[in-house]
């Protein structure tokens, strides 16, 4: 289990830190001396979940590797908003090549480090487009060869940088520029798309995990775990996108939380293809609560609510709850340590 039982009653372990917690119980993010891998002045939108997710993951990895880290970035929002020439927001060793080849470049960097005999760890990272669509072949190869790379996907469920187009990670019914709200089945179709964490698990890599920007302790624990292992590893982080999702900039973390608490985004970790732990739902909510706050689902809540579509999305959440055992009688509504 990456989740710690809660011993401190004022804020549990949900907040970033707390003056009364021992240093080792606080997150990397609570440390005034954290790396700040991606620095101020980047051009991400207000409330960008991806900028936040990248800093969370990379700061944790920087601590785990004692700063001996190289990061390879695919094309995408993260690359564009962080490095418009002549500025860069990266305060770590960072490399960008092409949209589709980040996993292969990361493999090369890892091989180079091995040949040079340097103990530098490698992370490859991309958005969901670069991971599940464009870079998928290279990523699958990296998994299959078991190259010593942690690949992180910052999943904001679409091609947001180029104007919000559908990716294979866009959920059903969501409006994008290529799945407009027209015709008998408005928004993205049901029954398509890829569940990359499960595809990664099918490659039998040593570690696969999902996380969100709403649970920092969990996210950091997973980065730590991943960096303690070698070979191909995969981390899939849900990072809400105010622009593409049509949500309030202040709602970014709240939406990530609702995605997990509704069951639509299961948070778990797996080793060698077997789920080893799940983060149980603490206060389960119905999917409406998550969907309503996003304009990409506004058509579901028009004068005639699309109850059938909402029911299908709820069924997806319920299926996740059943598949990953997300509702645990022992932990439901009980934050107290026994």
């Amino acid at each position: 289990m990456t989740r710690r039982p809660i011993r401190f009653y004022q804020v549990g372990s949900f907040a970033v830190g707390n003056r009364l917690l021992e240093d080792e119980e606080r997150t990397v993010q609570s440390d005034a001396k954290r790396t700040n891998s991606i620095d101020s002045g980047h051009r991400a939108c207000q409330g960008c979940g991806e900028a936040l997710g990248a800093r969370y993951a990379l700061d944790a990895a920087m601590r785990a590797t004692n700063g001996q880290l190289a990061v390879v970035n695919a094309t995408g929002c993260l690359e564009v908003f962080s490095t418009p020439y002549p500025e860069t927001s990266w305060r770590i060793a960072w490399l960008h090549s092409l949209f589709g080849n980040a996993p292969a470049v990361a493999t090369g960097v890892a091989a180079a480090m091995r040949v040079k005999g340097r103990d530098v760890r490698v992370i490859g990272q991309a958005g969901d487009g670069g991971t599940v669509d464009i870079g998928f072949g290279a990523l699958s190869g990296m998994f299959e060869r078991n190259d010593d790379v942690l690949f992180i996907c910052y999943d904001n469920e679409g091609y947001m940088n180029t104007g919000v187009q559908r990716s294979a990670a866009t959920p059903p019914a969501a409006r994008t520029a290529t799945t407009e709200v027209v015709g008998p089945h408005p928004g993205n179709v049901f029954g398509q798309g890829k569940d990359l964490p499960r595809i990664a698990m099918a490659h039998d890599v040593s570690y696969v995990a999902t996380a969100t920007v709403a649970d920092l302790h969990d996210l950091e624990a997973k980065v730590d775990k991943a960096m303690s292992l070698h070979g191909a590893r995969y981390l899939h982080i849900l990072v809400p996108c105010p622009l593409g999702w049509g949500s309030a900039s202040s709602d970014t973390i709240h939406l990530a939380r609702l995605a997990a608490e509704s069951g639509l985004f299961p948070v778990f970790e797996a080793e060698h293809g077997v789920v080893t732990s799940v983060t149980p739902i603490r206060r389960r909510v119905r999917v409406e609560e998550y969907l309503r706050r996003q304009k990409r689902y506004a058509h579901l809540f028009a004068t005639e609510p699309a109850t059938d579509v909402i029911a299908r999305l709820q069924a997806m959440a319920d299926a996740n709850v059943a598949r990953y055992h997300l509702v645990n009688d022992e932990t439901a509504n009980s934050d107290l340590e026994a």
């Binding site: 401190f8 970033v16 707390n18 003056r19 993010q29 002045g41 409330g47 800093r55 002549p86 107290l336």
Partner: protein, 540 residues
């Protein structure tokens, strides 16, 4: 500048790009008024002292508490704690046991012998405080801290007013009362006991006092005419409790009826039980919902075997036969007689029908307004008579010890303003920290720690304290349940959740915004657990 072909700028940090210019609203740190502080009649900074208690620094918690209220061990026992009623945590699980923690701090202070902060530099002015109940003691304390000399007079033989002569020892042990009073007197106060003031102006002139604070309380039990035989024992509950406090309890017999529905009625009934009454019946003319007594007192009394006779009035008392008439509530909720009577066996009848104030010491001063039996006062607590202030039960307000403590503080400040020729201006209140300002996701569920009650059997015959205190472990747990509504408690959330690293963590564990880079997304506001950040529009 030497740059490669087709490149016009050198590579540099993105910090050159001040994204703060995108912003139309800016976050600012605020201190909102927690509902507990807002509800406290004594004006305590409850969130403030719980904050200190959370780290286990009980002395500093106590010192924060006594800035406003010098009687925490007493208030931790007798206060009806409106703070807990309004506590935002009610909507998460249960209210924080503020009163229990206050008592723990008060008891810890007594156990360690912590003394109050010393008196202020002598101002050369001299104030007369009439009455040594909670209002008089509170005023004395605050006046001494402001450097005024104080003479405290009381008509009774001992200090404490209704805390000694009204509240029974099983609710407020005398050792606690004595300890907290002594601490105030130790600040250098001239005390005159058995000293009744008959004319305030004469007393002022004679003693050369620069100002007077009247905290004479409401000591006279209200009477009602009950046709009664010569042998029937009808006793005023106020006098009864006073006599018990003087260790001279009257004989009541085995069957005692108490008439009334306030806390005094319950104090009298529970005291009668302890003195050996087998039956203690409270006769009240209205129903449970309309009864003014506190819910806790009611439940404890029932637990001790006190019985209730709702919707009834006493119509006569002959020999040992007490006649009650049944009442019915009319459409407006007022009780009306039904003409139906019932007989009760009774050896004594205690009247607890409310108390009046003896204001004869203010007679002959037309500038003093007395309305509904109480003195009207300005916000500074000054009466119509310049330099004469009043507070506590003698003024229009809820008649509780905590209100009286608050009056004492306010009057002391009013007197200080008066003596310095300043106009009293009440400080503006901060915006209330409403539940909607909180993000309660971050607070782990944790039900409150209850103070154990003395086992019923043990308390029935004794004046031992009924409610026991918290252990240190429980007090710490309870303090940490505080959600710190509206006031930063250093959880690092804002520092952690900013996508633009625009929150700076300072050396003192507090934070500030770097407006060069803050884009105004307001995630920090949404994820601040306690609602201590607010968005305000930028001037554009």
């Amino acid at each position: 500048m030497d740059t490669p072909f087709a490149i016009t700028l050198p590579v540099g940090t993105s910090r050159a790009n001040h994204t703060g210019s995108w912003r139309v609203e800016r976050p600012v740190y605020v201190d909102r008024l927690p509902p507990c502080n807002n509800a406290c009649p004594a004006g305590e900074n409850i969130q403030g002292w719980l904050y200190a208690a959370e780290s286990g620094d009980y002395e500093s918690a106590w010192r924060t508490l006594i800035e406003d209220n010098p009687l925490p061990a007493i208030m931790g026992r007798v206060c009806f704690h409106p703070c807990e009623t309004t506590c935002n945590r009610v909507r998460v699980d249960e209210a924080v046991g503020i009163n229990a923690v206050e008592r723990f701090l008060g008891d810890t202070a007594i156990a360690h012998g912590w003394s109050l902060p010393g008196p202020g530099a002598d101002t050369g002015t001299h104030v007369l405080v009439v009455g040594s109940g909670p209002a008089g003691l509170s005023a004395t304390y605050h006046l001494r801290r402001l450097g005024h000399r104080v003479t405290l007079v009381d008509g009774a033989a001992q200090l404490g007013g209704m805390m000694r002569y009204g509240i029974p020892a099983y609710r407020l042990p005398r050792a606690v009362l004595d300890a907290e009073i002594a601490r105030i007197i130790d600040l250098g106060v001239e005390v005159k006991l058995n000293h009744r003031v008959d004319d305030v102006e004469a007393e002022r002139v004679e003693g050369h006092f620069d100002a007077v604070f009247l905290a004479v309380g409401a000591q006279i039990g209200r009477r009602v005419s009950v046709p009664a035989g010569d042998s029937s024992r009808i006793i005023d509950a106020v006098n009864f409790l006073h006599a018990v406090a003087d260790d001279d309890p009257p004989l009541l017999g085995r069957r005692v009826v108490v008439y009334g529905g306030g806390d005094t009625a319950f104090d009298a009934a529970r005291t009668a039980k302890r003195l050996g009454a087998t039956d203690a019946v409270i006769v009240y003319r209205r129903n449970r919902e309309k009864m003014p007594a506190s819910a806790e007192e009611f439940e404890q009394a029932l637990g001790e075997g006190v019985t209730m006779r709702w919707l009834s009035t006493v119509s006569s008392f002959e020999g040992d036969r007490l006649m009650v008439e049944k009442m019915a509530l009319n459409a407006d909720g007022f009780p009306e007689p039904t003409g139906e009577f019932e007989e009760l066996d009774a050896d004594a009848l205690l009247l607890a029908l409310g108390q009046d104030t003896d204001l004869s010491l203010l007679e002959g001063h037309p500038e003093v307004t007395i309305d509904h039996g109480v003195v009207q006062v300005a916000p500074s607590m000054m009466t119509g008579l310049a330099g004469v202030f009043a507070g506590g039960d003698a003024t229009p307000a809820d008649r509780t010890a905590t209100v009286a403590v608050g009056h004492g503080k306010r009057a002391a400040r009013g007197i200080d303003d008066y003596l310095n020729g300043r106009k009293t201006i009440l400080p503006p209140k901060h915006d209330l920290a409403a539940f909607e300002n909180l993000n309660t996701w971050y607070y782990a569920d944790a039900p409150r720690t209850r103070r154990p009650e003395l086992e019923k059997v043990r308390r029935q015959g004794t004046f031992d304290e009924v409610i026991q205190g918290l252990t240190e472990e429980n007090a710490l747990f309870e303090a940490r349940r505080c959600m710190s509504c509206g006031n930063c408690f250093e959880c690092d959330n804002c520092f952690g959740v900013c996508p633009d690293n625009a929150v700076v963590k300072l050396e003192n564990n507090r934070y500030e915004f770097n407006y060069d880079f803050c884009k105004g997304c307001a995630i920090c506001v949404a994820e601040c657990p306690c609602g201590a950040i607010q968005m305000v529009p930028e001037k554009i």
